[in-house]
C-alpha cells in the first residue's frame, strides 16, 4: 500500500505519463529503426515540425482560457504567403517579418473581437476565419506564383545554424520558454487559468475574463503569423492549402499533453511534449518502413489510446491517494467533460 501510494503520487504529477510514454516510444524506435537516433535525422524532423510547436503555444493559451482556435493552421499558411509575397516584391526581410506577424495578429484580433465583444461561439468564429484565411491564400496564390524570393536574408531567418541547431528551432525554444513563463508566472497567465476554470466565478472574483480571452486569441494569432514567416523562409515557396490541418495536429498534441479542452488545466511544455510525441511517432514509423498510407490510422489510435490511458492512470492515482471517494468522483466527472 505504501509503495502504491508513492507510485500514485508520482504519476499524479501532471505531464509525467505522456513524458514516460514519449521516452518509451523513443526507446522502441531506436531499437527497431536503424537511423532513428542519428542527430541529423532528429534535427531534420524537429525542424520540419517547428511551425506546429509555435502554434501549439498560442493554442495552449486559448484552450486553457476555455476557448478553442481552429483558424491557426490556415492563418499560418496565409501569413507565410503574405510575408513571402512582400519579400518577393523586394522589401527588406524585416518588413516581410512584420507583414507576416501582423497578418496573424489581424486574424487574432478579428477572432478576439467577434468572440469576446459580440459573444459569438468560439468554435464557429474560428471555423469561419479558418475558411477566410485559407480562401485569402488561394486568391493570392491564384494571382501571384509565390515561388522563391531572391532575398537571402529572408531565407536565413529560419536556416541559420547556431550551436548545431537551426534558427527555427532556436526561435521555437525561446518562444516556448517566454510564453511558459508568461503562462505560469505572470498575472495575465494566472487570469487565463482562472477564466478557463470558471468564467463566472472568475468574473465575480474581479477578473476581466473577456479581456483575458482577448489576449489569448491575440497571442494565438500573432504566433501563427510568426510561424508562417518561419515556414515561408524555410520553404521559400507557398501554395494554396499550405499548413491546412496543422490546427488539428496542434489540438491533438495539446490534448495528448494533458491540456484540458474544458479549460483551466495544462502548460506549454506539456503541450509541446504532446506535439513531440506525434511528430516523433510519424518519424519513427517512416524510418521503420511502415506504409505511409496507414500513418494517419496509427496516429489516430495513439491519440485515443493515449487519452484513455492517461485517464485510467489518473483514476488509479486517485484511488490510492488519501482523498475521499466523493472528491474522486467529482474529479473524474470533470475529466469526462474535459475529454
Amino acid at each position: 500500500m505504501r509503495n502504491q501510494s508513492k507510485l500514485s503520487k508520482i504519476i499524479s504529477i501532471e505531464g509525467v505519463v505522456i513524458l514516460a510514454a514519449f521516452v518509451l516510444m523513443v526507446i522502441f524506435f531506436s531499437l527497431n529503426a536503424d537511423s532513428f537516433l542519428i542527430p541529423d535525422s532528429i534535427r531534420y524532423y524537429i525542424n520540419e515540425a517547428v511551425p506546429i510547436f509555435i502554434i501549439i503555444v498560442g493554442l495552449t493559451f486559448v484552450i486553457i482560457a476555455g476557448g478553442i482556435d481552429l483558424s491557426i493552421g490556415s492563418v499560418l499558411g496565409l501569413s507565410a504567403g503574405t510575408s513571402l509575397m512582400v519579400s518577393m516584391w523586394g522589401w527588406p526581410f524585416w518588413v516581410a517579418v512584420i507583414v507576416g506577424v501582423f497578418t496573424g495578429l489581424a486574424f487574432g484580433l478579428f477572432n478576439a473581437v467577434i468572440i469576446t465583444i459580440f459573444k459569438v461561439n468560439d468554435f464557429i468564429v474560428t471555423l469561419g476565419t479558418l475558411y477566410i484565411a485559407a480562401g485569402a491564400l488561394t486568391v493570392i496564390t491564384d494571382k501571384i506564383q509565390l515561388i522563391g524570393t531572391k532575398d537571402t536574408n529572408f531565407q536565413r531567418i529560419s536556416d541559420m545554424s547556431f550551436l548545431g541547431l537551426t534558427s527555427s528551432i532556436w526561435f521555437a525554444l525561446v518562444i516556448v520558454v517566454i510564453f511558459e513563463l508568461i503562462l505560469l508566472k505572470s498575472p495575465f497567465g494566472r487570469r487565463v487559468f482562472a477564466t478557463g476554470i470558471g468564467e463566472v466565478p472568475a468574473l465575480i472574483s474581479g477578473i476581466n475574463t473577456q479581456r483575458t480571452k482577448f489576449g489569448a486569441y491575440l497571442i494565438s494569432g500573432g504566433l501563427a503569423g510568426f510561424g508562417g514567416v518561419l515556414l515561408a523562409s524555410h520553404l521559400n515557396s507557398v501554395q494554396s492549402g499550405l499548413a491546412g490541418g496543422y490546427e488539428l495536429t496542434a489540438i491533438a498534441g495539446a490534448v495528448l499533453g494533458g491540456v484540458s479542452l474544458a479549460g483551466g488545466r495544462g502548460s506549454v511544455w506539456r503541450a509541446i511534449v504532446g506535439a513531440l510525441f506525434l511528430t516523433t511517432l510519424n518519424q519513427g514509423l517512416l524510418l521503420m518502413g511502415v506504409n505511409p498510407l496507414i500513418f494517419q490510422i496509427v496516429t489516430g489510435l495513439c491519440i485515443l489510446v493515449g487519452v484513455v490511458v492517461d485517464r485510467g492512470v489518473y483514476k488509479f492515482a486517485l484511488t490510492f491517494s488519501t482523498q475521499t471517494r466523493e472528491v474522486n468522483s467529482q474529479i473524474l466527472d470533470r475529466k469526462k467533460v474535459s475529454l
Binding site: L181, S186, P187, R190, P201, L203, S205, G206, V327
Partner: protein, 534 residues
C-alpha cells in the same frame, strides 16, 4: 431541540392515509439534512409543506420522488412498506412532481410536451414501433386538458407561445397522464400574476376533487389559508409539527417555521463594537446607491451605507436581493442608476472596477459562483489582487505561500497545506478562503450573499464572528441571508425588499430586539417582505 416534539394537532379531514414517511434521516457530507422527519398525507387533501430555506423540504421531496435515498426511515404507501429507489419506482407508485422551474420545451407542441418521455407508456403501442400516434395521444388527453384550460387546438401549437400560467397547466396535465395518486407542487405560483394564481388555485381544487393528494411547497404563507387542509412544518431538518390549517393562525405558523428558541443557536458573545459606534457623529458614508433600475428586476432602489455597520437585506426569494448586489458589483448591467463611493461618483461597469473602488463580494452558491475549483488555496486567495504577490513583475511563489499561510492561521482554515486544492476543503473552509480572497484586496465594503449557505453550524458561528469583527474594524458590510434568524441577529440595520423595491427599513436592530423582543422584529420583517396585509 427536543422541546419541539412532533405534535399532531386536531383531527384531519376525511380521506384515508395514502402516504406515511416515518423517521426519515439523511446526512450530506457531515450535515444532517433530515433528522427523523415524519410526513403523513391523506388522499384528496392539499398538504402544505412549509419551512425556511435549508429546512429540508427539498431533500424530503427528493427522497419521495426517488432522486435520492434516505439513510434511515421507512415509507408506507397505502399502508404497505415500500422502497422508492428511483424516479421510476416513484412514478410506478403514482407519485409525480412539478418542479419550480418550468421544464417545458418551447419548440415542441403542447401535446408533445405532455407526453414527453412517456409516449409508449400511455399509448400502449407495440414496443418495437418507433412511431408515436399523435391522434391517439390527443384523444387520451383531451378531456383532462380541457379541464385545465387547454383547448383542443392549443394542443398542437408550440408550447413556447404560451405564458407562465398555461405552461403550469401543461405541466399539471403532463403529471396527470400517468394518473398520479400524489402530486408534488414545488412553488407552483412562482412567475404567475395575481389573477393567474387564483386560476391555479382553482386547478388545485379540481385535482383535489379527482382524489389526488397534493403536497404543496410554498413560501407565501398567505396563500396557504383557505386552500390547504393540512400543513407539515419543517425546521433545521426536523418536522416540527403537523397541523390542520383551520386550527392555526399566521403568527403560529411563523413561529413554528422560524422558531424563536432557535435564535439561541447563533447567540454568541457580542464583540465590542463601541469603538466604531461611540463617535456616531463622526460616522461617514462609505457608499451611496442612487436610483438603481433594471427592467423587471430592480425598481428605483436607493440607499446609503456607513462605515462600521452591518446592513442586512431582507426579502423573499425573487425580491431582488442578489440582483441588487450583482448590480452593485457590476456583474449585471443596469438601465439607470449610479453610485458614490468615497466621493467617487459613477457607474460600476465590471467587477474589476468594483474591486478597484474597494468593494468585494462573497457570492452565494459557493460551488458554482464562489470557488475556482482547480486552484490551490494559495492561488484562490491571491487571484483578486495579484499585485500583492508580485516580485519584479512576476508572481512570487513565496509571497503567495506567505499570504495564504497568514490567512490559514488567522481564520484557522483546516487544510493539510496551502497547496491543497480548494475543492478538497469542506464548505466552511472554502468559505473562509473566499473571504480571505476578498480581504486580500483590502476592501472598504464587503458584500456577503448567503455567507453560511450549506456549511455546518460550527463554521457558521465562526463566519458570523468574522463578519462582526470586520464591521468592528470599520468596514462596511452588506449581508443577504434567507435565514431570517441569521440576518436579524447579524445586522445593525435592515432594508426590506419586495419585488425589486425597498418596502421598509429597520434602524438599530439590536436595540429593537432588546426593547421589543426578537419575535416582534422578525414578524415585522416577515409582514413587510411577504404579501401579507397587516
Amino acid at each position: 431541540m427536543q422541546d419541539n416534539a412532533f405534535a399532531e394537532v386536531s383531527s384531519l379531514k376525511a380521506g384515508s392515509q395514502i402516504l406515511k414517511m416515518s423517521h426519515i434521516s439523511k446526512r450530506y457530507q457531515g450535515v444532517q439534512a433530515l433528522d427523523k422527519v415524519e410526513l403523513d398525507v391523506r388522499s384528496g387533501e392539499i398538504h402544505a409543506l412549509l419551512g425556511g430555506n435549508g429546512a429540508g423540504k427539498s431533500t424530503l421531496l427528493k427522497i419521495l420522488s426517488g432522486l435520492t435515498n434516505p439513510d434511515e426511515g421507512t415509507i408506507f404507501f397505502h399502508g404497505q412498506r415500500v422502497a422508492i429507489e428511483s424516479p421510476r419506482s416513484a412514478q410506478e407508485l403514482g407519485i409525480s412532481m412539478i418542479h419550480q422551474e418550468l421544464s417545458i420545451i418551447p419548440d415542441l407542441s403542447v401535446l408533445e410536451n405532455i407526453f414527453l418521455g412517456q409516449e409508449r407508456l400511455i399509448t400502449q403501442r407495440k414496443s418495437w414501433s418507433p412511431w408515436v400516434n399523435r391522434r391517439e395521444m390527443a384523444e387520451k388527453v383531451r378531456s383532462v386538458a380541457t379541464e385545465f384550460g387547454i383547448t383542443e387546438e392549443e394542443l398542437w401549437r408550440p408550447a413556447g407561445e404560451f405564458g407562465a400560467l398555461k405552461k403550469r397547466s401543461i405541466e399539471i396535465v403532463k403529471a396527470l397522464v400517468v394518473r398520479p395518486k400524489i402530486l408534488i407542487l414545488d412553488e407552483p405560483t412562482s412567475g404567475l400574476e395575481e389573477h393567474e394564481k387564483e386560476l391555479l388555485f382553482g386547478h388545485m381544487r379540481s385535482l383535489q376533487r379527482l382524489g389526488v393528494a397534493l403536497i404543496w411547497v410554498t413560501h407565501h404563507l398567505d396563500e396557504v389559508f383557505g386552500l390547504a387542509d393540512t400543513a407539515t412544518i419543517m425546521r433545521d431538518g426536523k418536522s416540527v409539527a403537523q397541523t390542520s390549517i383551520e386550527g392555526i393562525n399566521l403568527n403560529d405558523l411563523i413561529s413554528l417555521m422560524f422558531g424563536s428558541q432557535a435564535a439561541a443557536l447563533i447567540e454568541q458573545p457580542k464583540i465590542d463594537r463601541t469603538a466604531g459606534k461611540a463617535g456616531s457623529k463622526e460616522r461617514f458614508k462609505t457608499l451611496e446607491v442612487v436610483g438603481f433600475k433594471r427592467e423587471g428586476v430592480l425598481k428605483d432602489i436607493s440607499f446609503d451605507l456607513w462605515d462600521g455597520e452591518i446592513l442586512g437585506i431582507a426579502g423573499l426569494a425573487g425580491a431582488g436581493r442578489t440582483e441588487l448586489m450583482r448590480a452593485l458589483m457590476g456583474i449585471d448591467k443596469l438601465d439607470s442608476g449610479s453610485i458614490n463611493v468615497f466621493g467617487k461618483i459613477g457607474k460600476i461597469g465590471h467587477p474589476e472596477k468594483a474591486y478597484e473602488l474597494g468593494i468585494a463580494m462573497v457570492p452565494e452558491d459557493r460551488k458554482v459562483l464562489g470557488i475556482l475549483s482547480e486552484f490551490s488555496i494559495e492561488k484562490s486567495i491571491s487571484i483578486s489582487k495579484l499585485v500583492n504577490v508580485l516580485k519584479k513583475g512576476f508572481l512570487s511563489a513565496k509571497k503567495e505561500k506567505d499570504l495564504a499561510s497568514e490567512f490559514i492561521s488567522k481564520f484557522s482554515i483546516k487544510t493539510p497545506n496551502s497547496r491543497e486544492k480548494i475543492r478538497n476543503l469542506s464548505g466552511g473552509n472554502q468559505q473562509k478562503v473566499i473571504i480571505s480572497r476578498c480581504l486580500n484586496t483590502n476592501p472598504r465594503i464587503l458584500i456577503f450573499d448567503e455567507p453560511t449557505q450549506g456549511i455546518d453550524i460550527a463554521s457558521k458561528v465562526e463566519v458570523h464572528k468574522l463578519i462582526r469583527e470586520l464591521a468592528a474594524a470599520g468596514k462596511s458590510v452588506i449581508v443577504i441571508a434567507s435565514e431570517l434568524n441569521e440576518l436579524i441577529r447579524l445586522s445593525d440595520r435592515i432594508i426590506i425588499l419586495r419585488e425589486g423595491s425597498i418596502v421598509g427599513e429597520l434602524e438599530s436592530v439590536p436595540e429593537r430586539i432588546q426593547i421589543n423582543g426578537y419575535e416582534v422584529v422578525e414578524q415585522d420583517i416577515l409582514y413587510k417582505s411577504s404579501r401579507v396585509k397587516v
